[in-house]
Every structure is written in C-alpha cells, then in structure tokens.
Symmetry: C2
Subunit: 155 residues, 2 copies
DNA sequence: ACACAATTTAGAATTATTCTAAAATGGCTC
DNA sequence: GAGCCATTTTAGAATAATTCTAAATTGTGT
C-alpha cells in the first residue's frame, strides 16, 4: 500500500498550490535548523510557516492538522512546537492564565491582548518605542523584552 | 517602633510585630474594598500586605499560611487571591508557562523574569520608558502595559 | 534488505486550578 | 443569646493543559 507512493511519501498530503516550491522550502528550513524533516514535522511546518503570522495554542494546531486530514498526534504537536520554538522558528507567548500561544511571527514585535475576546494581535516593533531599560543584574544578559498591551472594552 | 507609621499601611514594614495596629489597618483595607474581613481573609491580607512586595503563586501563599499555623484551605486561598485581585489590591502576573504569580506591588512597575531561576523581580516604572504606543483598535481602551524583561545567564 | 537510532503515538500521569455541595460562620433581629 | 438566612469556607471531586512512558513505527546508513 505504501509502495504506491513509493519513493516520495511527501506527495501524500497536498498543500493548496505551489507544491514543490513550498515543500522544498520547508524541508530545507527544518534541515537548516538541525531538525529532521519527518512527515509530521513537515506537515506542521508547512501549515505553520505558510507566511501568515499565527497565534495558536497546541490544541488549535492539533485541530488544524485533523482538519487537514494529516495524522499528527497531540503528543507530537507538543513535541514539535517545542522543538520549533527551541530552534527559534517560532516563539511562545504566555499571557492568558492557562493558555500558551505559539507565535509564528519571529520578527521583532509586541502584542495587544484583548481581554474581552481573549485574542492576541501583533504590534510591529516600530510602533512601540522603549527608550530606557534598567541596568541588568550581574551575570545576566538580555534575552528579550516582551510588551503586552492589555485592552478592555471601552467607549 | 511601629506606632510611628500607624496610619499608613503602605509604608515599607517588617512583618512580625505590630499586631493590633496591623489588624485594624487590614480590616479597614478590606472593608474599604467591599470585602468582608473574615478570619481567613484577614490572615491572608495581613500576610500579603505587610509592606513587602511579593510575587507568589497560590500554592506558595497556601504554604505560608500553613507555616503560620493559620488554617486557610487551598480553595480559600484561590478564592481570596482572586477577590483581592479583582478589588485591585494586587495583580496577577502570568509569565511562566504554567504558573500564575500574584504580585502585591500595585504601584506602576514592570518585571525582570530570570529564566535561569524562574524568579520574578520588580522593575520600578521609572526605569522603563515607553515613548511610543500604537493606536488602539476601535472600541477598546488601554487597561495596562506589561513589560517583561527576560534574562538569561550571561557573561 | 538489515539493523539501529530517532520519532511517533496512545494512553496514563501530573499539575494547577476550578467546581460542588455540605458544613461552618457572620451578622441580623427579636 | 436563640434563631435565621446569607455568606464563606472547605474537602474532595472534576477539569484542562501539558508532560511522561513505553511500545510501535519510521528513517537512515550500510
């Protein structure tokens, strides 16, 4: 049964358009990050790094995979999101009490958090100027500065 | 030694002594916030609002209560921390993936998050200048801006 | 094709938190 | 202070997100 797809298991799942190009890009992206491009990881990467910035929880990503009929277990979604994060391909954003969002936008940016909808929105770094930072404690260096602009319903 | 500060519970104080004075202050604080000062709530308030800024998880607060031999159940600790937060007596800070910190410092300030120790430290607002903010989406108003300066081990 | 390492997986385990319904307490009125 | 009703507290069950585990599968070099 697998013989049919034979040498190229990658063709099994279909993106909308742009097959080969996107696939090449994604497998290369993973390889360059030292991550072996398995079927599951490629499917996830293809979905996540399609050029649209996404803020999603692991469960949401898993649901998207189900919908796309790509067999990727929840455990693998968690593992892979963590790997991608560690490789710097995406970020984790923790804002809501018990929800971790994975953010595929790795450009310098900040966030609006809309308390009425629970949604997260990007704010390009250029729209926030931080003109002064405190002196860092000894023996530590700056990892990054997260700015979350919390919004509530207003006039 | 404490009579001097008497009327101002905000003043930096050492915990330990000052029973009567502190009690009056605390019950008043609760009443002014529309919270009935029961035994448990008073015990928690006394511990939390002793003048020292604290960043604690609910479990940690519960542990402190046990140590102080004050019978307060975990459920009550959760309930009460939420009430206090809603009344504006303290804030919630969410940073670490699955840990909610309650912060007794309600002055304008920001945080260092030390990734190596998992600890949170205050940064007075004056040490961080945000000189530009984006235009807010329609129908929303600013609740607050949280700045978390993430630190990692460095030279 | 073969073997060995890496990966995936289902389901169990863990952890922080919330819920529930019963017991205790607080604040009234008489 | 006894009686009463609303509020609060509580132990333990329930939930939800995440991690762990150990077995099955897949990938890769030979």
């Amino acid at each position: 049964m697998r013989a049919i797809i034979g040498h190229n298991w990658r063709m099994k799942t279909k993106p909308q358009h742009d097959h080969s190009a996107k696939l090449l890009q994604v497998t290369e992206l993973l390889q360059r990050s030292g991550i072996r491009p398995t079927r599951q990881r490629t499917a996830l990467a293809r979905y996540l790094f399609d050029g649209c910035d996404k803020h999603m929880t692991a469960e949401q990503v898993h649901a998207a995979m189900r919908k796309a009929k790509t067999g990727v277990s929840l455990a693998t979604v968690y593992n892979t999101l963590h790997q991608f994060t560690e490789a710097g391909l995406m970020h984790q954003v923790v804002i809501d009490s018990n929800r971790v969002y994975f953010d595929t936008n790795i450009h310098d940016h900040h966030h609006f958090f809309d308390e009425t909808t629970g949604m997260l929105h990007d704010v390009p770094a250029k729209h926030v100027h931080i003109s002064r930072l405190p002196k860092l404690p000894a023996g530590r260096e700056l990892d990054r500065v997260d700015v979350v602009i919390r919004l509530r319903a207003g006039k």
